[in-house]
Assembly symmetry: C2
Homo-oligomer: 238 residues x 2
DNA sequence: GTCTATAACTGGATAGAC
DNA sequence: GTCTATCCAGTTATAGAC
């Protein structure tokens, strides 16, 4: 991998020289397993499953590569652990937010309100939290656009929260056809996961005027855009 | 890679047993280079750059792995050739379509019209063409959601056509702020590239009622959705 | 729990016969 | 142009000392 530091920089970052001393203990002693997960999350989000070696993960966090196997077994299991760790947390929050919103507004729900409950627990974490969350979300964006295994992974982890979202939308837009709702959701999730991927493309394209990590600017626009889109597509058809 | 046919099927398809006879010549003699590009396109789109080996590409099309190096040099160069081959073609068509639209409608351009000129040359190829185009577009979807090198690759290949698109939108929506236009474009391209990725997720989520490869159903909705979204986000702000 | 050492194998790439 | 044979760096994973 380090054999092609050439042309397009498709290669992962050159591996750091093996950390000489061990990982410093004491003051900053997150559990070793957590340290490994954080490093793996960062690298997987940038280079995907195959673009990361167990050794690169170990070197990234100054831990011996045998320890990675000690804690997680296989590389695949490490990947799965990375993906699952934060998914549970954020999906629980999204479920709760949607439940609260439905209880409060009942038959007066709006597309904006439902979308806010669905999106904000997620976008809030991108906004305030440690870089670990950003890395995790970038990984979700990458997985969501990967054929076959990517879709299977998304389905396995996100179906319940998405079905709940669509059910609420159906109540907010009683005349909407089911297919229109699914397609509209598809457009929303594409916009969302591209934002989460935070590739820097928008930044470059706009000559720095806009950034895909500027959640303060993106969140209200995403909700406005999606709500208008849903209403346009999900109107009764002839 | 074939070492983990376990859990999540994150592993690429098990390699076929080496084709015994050589690739059949005569009747079906596409150029060898083309055959290799098609195979590489298919595998890269499913598994990304690192998830594909030169040997897997060679086996996929019944060609010797040394031949892949003979024609393309490095694996990186092969990837670049795959990406560039169809990009030129489709972008030329999109440029032409936007130019024709502008010439015909001038100051009477609509968001729907501009979006149609931008999107349809691309979506038309997904609809009617050989599976090679589908594989290529899935690869674009994957690259667009990859950090760093993905964004750089997109910028290098797609910036001119996107800047042209945004310039036309600015004429169709004279009151729009530049940032609102960029963010709205960002949402559109997220929806587009998720569709192109054709991961099968929408199909599964909707229990088969909708498919991300059903372009007849998606294209009009995508244009409706995006146009409504652009108008909602790009209105004059206070 | 952590490290060293190494087994067992896969990867990209090339030299050289035909 | 095409194939065989091979080099060797880098890969996952484990056994076993501390």
């Amino acid at each position: 991998m380090t054999r092609t530091p050439d042309s397009k920089s498709l290669a992962p970052a050159a591996r750091k020289p093996r950390a000489v001393g061990r990982r410093p203990k004491g003051a900053d002693n997150k559990e070793t397993a957590t340290v490994i997960l954080d490093a793996a999350e960062k690298l997987f989000s940038a280079n995907g499953f195959y673009g990361v070696t167990v050794r690169a993960v170990a070197d990234e966090c100054g831990v011996d590569s045998a320890l990675v196997h000690y804690y997680f077994g296989t590389k695949q299991a490490l990947f799965d652990a990375v993906f699952a760790r934060r998914t549970e947390l954020v999906n629980q929050d999204r479920m709760d937010a949607m439940t609260r919103y439905e209880e409060e507004y009942g038959d007066g729900m709006t597309v904006e309100g439902v979308a806010t409950a669905f999106l904000m627990p997620l976008l809030d974490r991108v906004r305030h939290s440690d870089p670990g969350w950003k890395n995790y979300f970038a990984l979700v964006g990458l997985v969501n656009n990967s054929r076959d295994w990517g879709a299977k992974t998304m389905t396995a982890h996100f179906d319940p929260v998405v079905r709940r979202f669509i059910a609420l939308l159906q109540r907010a837009l009683p005349d909407a056809g089911t297919e229109d709702l699914f397609f509209s959701y598809h457009f929303l999730t594409g916009a969302l996961t591209l934002t989460l991927s935070d590739t820097g493309r928008l930044d470059r394209l706009s000559d720095g005027r806009c950034s895909s990590s500027d959640i303060e600017a993106i969140a209200p626009r995403m909700i406005e855009y999606a709500a208008a889109g849903f209403r346009a597509v999900c109107k009764p058809r002839t």
